[in-house]
C-alpha cells in the first residue's frame, strides 16, 4: 500500500451522513447559544391563552400555561446539549482513566477494574442511573452525574482493549527502557493513541445521554418545572395529549433530530477513523 492510499483513508470521508449529522448538530448548537436572541418569546412567561393551536404567531402553539412551545423547545436545547456534554465528559474521563490503568498494568488492577465494569454492565439500561438518582436525589445536575456514571464501564472496556494493543508497540518498550516514568508514558504515549475510538464513542454517547436524560426528566427525576427541558415538556403535555397534541410532539421531534444527528456523525466518524471498532 502506498503512502497515498494510507493518507486518503485518514482524511475525513465526506459522506451524506456526516454532512447531515454535523449540519443538524450545528443548527442545535447555534440555537442553544443564541436562544435568548432568536426565540420569539420568553420561555417561562405566559404570553397567550392556554393550549392555543399552532398558528402564525405561535408556530408550535402554546402549552397549558400559555407559554410559547417554540421558545421553550429552543431554550430546551441548552439543557439537553449540556446534559449530553457533561455526562459524556464524566463517563469519558473516569472511564478512560480506569481503562488505561487496567490495560497498562494488567494483573490484579485489571482484574478488579474489569470485574467492577462487569457488574456495572449487568444492570440493564437506565437501571444503574436510577440507583444513582435514588441515592443522590432528583434534579438535572444529578441526572447528568447519574448518566455519566452509568457510561463509565463502556469507556473503560473500549479504552482497555485499545491500550492492550498500544502497550505492545516498540515505542512503549523504548520509553520504558529509557526509564520514563509510567505516568508519563501513559499520558504522553498511551493516551493520544486512544483518542480516535474515544471520539467516536463520545459522539455516539452524546446522543444516547440526551435520550436517557430526557427520559429521566420525563419520569420526573430530572429537570423540574418551570424549566424548559424536552423530556419534561413532553411529560406535561401527556395529560392533555388528546386536546393539545403539539405540547408533547414538538419537544419529541427536537430530541429525535438531535439524537439522530449524533448517531449519523458518530457512525460516519467510525467508518472514517476505524471501521473495526465495534461499540455497542
Amino acid at each position: 500500500m502506498t503512502m497515498d492510499t494510507v493518507e486518503s483513508r485518514r482524511t475525513l470521508n465526506i459522506n451524506p451522513s456526516f454532512v447531515i449529522g454535523i449540519s443538524i448538530l450545528i443548527v442545535w448548537i447555534v440555537i442553544a447559544i443564541f436562544a435568548d436572541q432568536i426565540s420569539p418569546y420568553n420561555p417561562i412567561k405566559t404570553v397567550a391563552g392556554a393550549r392555543e393551536a399552532p398558528s402564525a404567531s405561535f408556530l408550535f402553539g402554546t402549552d397549558r400555561l400559555g407559554r410559547d412551545v417554540l421558545s421553550r423547545v429552543m431554550h430546551g436545547s441548552r439543557i439537553s446539549l449540556m446534559l449530553g456534554l457533561i455526562s459524556v465528559l464524566i463517563g469519558a474521563i473516569v472511564g478512560t482513566l480506569f481503562g488505561i490503568l487496567s490495560g497498562y498494568y494488567g494483573g490484579l488492577i485489571d482484574t478488579i477494574i474489569m470485574r467492577i465494569t462487569d457488574a456495572m454492565l449487568a444492570f440493564p439500561g437506565i437501571l444503574l442511573a436510577l440507583v444513582v438518582i435514588a441515592s443522590l436525589g432528583t434534579g438535572i445536575i444529578k441526572v447528568m452525574i447519574a448518566v455519566g456514571i452509568s457510561t463509565i464501564p463502556i469507556y473503560a472496556r473500549l479504552i482497555r482493549s485499545t491500550v492492550l494493543t498500544v502497550r505492545e508497540q516498540p515505542y512503549i518498550d523504548a520509553a520504558t527502557l529509557l526509564g520514563v516514568r509510567d505516568i508519563v508514558i501513559m499520558y504522553r504515549h498511551v493516551l493520544p493513541n486512544t483518542l480516535a475510538p474515544l471520539i467516536v464513542l463520545s459522539t455516539l454517547q452524546v446522543g444516547n445521554a440526551i435520550t436517557i436524560g430526557a427520559g429521566l426528566s420525563f419520569l420526573g427525576m430530572g429537570a423540574q418545572p418551570p424549566d424548559a427541558e424536552w423530556g419534561l415538556m413532553a411529560a406535561t403535555g401527556r395529560a392533555v395529549l388528546g386536546k393539545a397534541w403539539w405540547i408533547s410532539t414538538f419537544p419529541g421531534i427536537a430530541i429525535l433530530t438531535a439524537v439522530m444527528a449524533c448517531n449519523l456523525l458518530g457512525d460516519s466518524l467510525r467508518r472514517t477513523i476505524d471501521p473495526r471498532i465495534r461499540l455497542r
Binding site: P124, A134, F218, L219
Partner: protein
C-alpha cells in the same frame, strides 16, 4: 459436554450476582446522601423529630457498620427477603412478585414484535439488496434507534387512541391494551435485529455450502430456509439476550407512559418516594433476571452450535 458447559456457566454466575448486590448496596450507601432524611421527606409530612429519625435508623439497622448492613442485606436476598418498603409498608419481595407478571407479559410482547418485524424485514432486505425496500428498512432501523421511547409511546396514544380510537390509551385490560406498549418497547430492538439479520444472511448467502446447494439444483426457498437462514440466525440468538435487558429497562418508561402496573413503574415510584429498600430490591431483582436470561441464551447458543462448548 453440554452438561459440563452449563455447570461451568452456572458457577460463573455466583461471583457476578455477588458483585451486582455489592454494587447496588454500595451506590445506595457510599454516595453522599442521607437515606433516612430523604426517606422521611418523601414519606412523612411536616418536620420530623430527631427521635423519630433515630428510631427509624435503628429500626432499619442503619446504625450498624456498613459491612454488617451489607451481609444482612445479602443474607436476606439469598432467601428471598429483600426488606420492607418504607412507603407501602409491605415486604419488597411481595410487591415485586405482584407486579412481575405484568412486566414479563409486556417484555414478551415487545420481544415477539421485535423478532417478528426485525427478522422478516431483515430477510427481505437481504434477499432484495439495494432495492427501495432495503433502503427504506435500513432508514427505518436508523430512525428507530434514535427515537425516545416515551415519545414514541405518546405518539402512538395520540394517533391510535385519540385520533383513530383503535386501542385503549392505558391500563392492561385484554390483549388490545398490550399492542401499543409492545410495539413501543419492541421497535428499537426490531431495528437492531433487522440490521443484524440482514448482515448475517448476506454473509451466509455467499458461503460455499449455499453454492453447493445451488449447484445441486435445490429450489431457492429450500436453500434460503434450510441452509442460509439457519446459519444466519445464530448471531441473532445471542443478541436476543442483550435485547431482553433493553426490554426490562424500556419497561421503566413504557409502563409509565401506558400506566401499566409493572415493576418498571414501581421502581420509578420507589425512586421518587426515596423508598430505598424498594429501589434496592427491584434493581437487584431485575439485574438478576437479566443475567439469568443471558445465561439461558448462552446455553441455547451452545446447544445450537457445538463449537462454542469447546471454545
Amino acid at each position: 459436554m453440554l452438561a459440563q458447559y452449563i455447570m461451568k456457566r452456572v458457577l460463573q454466575l455466583i461471583p457476578v450476582l455477588f458483585l451486582i448486590s455489592l454494587m447496588v448496596f454500595s451506590i445506595m450507601h457510599a454516595l453522599p446522601g442521607d437515606p433516612v432524611g430523604l426517606m422521611l421527606a418523601g414519606s412523612e409530612s411536616g418536620s420530623v423529630s430527631p427521635e423519630r429519625m433515630e428510631e427509624l435508623s435503628e429500626q432499619m439497622g442503619l446504625n450498624d457498620p456498613l459491612p454488617v448492613q451489607y451481609f444482612r442485606f445479602l443474607r436476606g436476598a439469598v432467601v428471598g427477603d429483600l426488606g420492607t418498603s418504607v412507603r407501602l409498608r409491605q415486604p419488597v419481595t411481595e410487591l415485586i412478585l405482584d407486579r412481575f407478571g405484568s412486566t414479563i407479559v409486556l417484555s414478551m410482547g415487545g420481544m415477539s414484535f421485535a423478532l417478528l418485524i426485525g427478522m422478516s424485514t431483515g430477510v427481505v432486505a437481504a434477499l432484495k439488496q439495494g432495492t427501495w425496500f432495503d433502503t427504506l428498512s435500513m432508514m427505518f432501523a436508523y430512525v428507530g434507534v434514535s427515537l425516545p421511547l416515551f415519545w414514541l409511546g405518546l405518539l402512538m396514544i395520540l394517533v391510535f387512541s385519540f385520533w383513530l380510537d383503535i386501542f385503549p390509551p392505558a391500563g392492561q385490560a385484554g390483549w388490545r391494551s398490550l399492542i401499543m406498549p409492545s410495539v413501543t418497547l419492541g421497535l428499537v430492538s426490531s431495528g437492531v435485529i433487522s440490521r443484524l439479520t440482514r448482515a448475517c444472511l448476506i454473509e451466509a448467502l455467499v458461503e460455499d455450502y449455499v453454492r453447493t446447494a445451488r449447484a445441486k439444483g435445490l429450489p431457492k426457498t429450500l436453500i434460503y430456509v434450510r441452509h442460509a437462514l439457519r446459519n444466519a440466525l445464530l448471531p441473532v440468538v445471542t443478541i436476543v439476550g442483550l435485547q431482553f435487558g433493553g426490554m426490562l429497562a424500556g419497561a421503566v418508561v413504557t409502563e409509565t407512559v401506558f400506566s401499566r402496573p409493572g415493576l418498571g413503574r414501581l421502581v420509578v415510584s420507589a425512586v421518587l418516594w426515596k423508598d430505598y429498600p424498594l429501589v434496592q430490591g427491584i434493581v437487584l431483582f431485575m439485574s438478576t433476571g437479566y443475567v439469568l436470561v443471558n445465561l439461558i441464551v448462552d446455553i441455547t447458543y451452545a446447544w445450537l452450535d457445538p463449537r462454542i462448548r469447546y471454545g
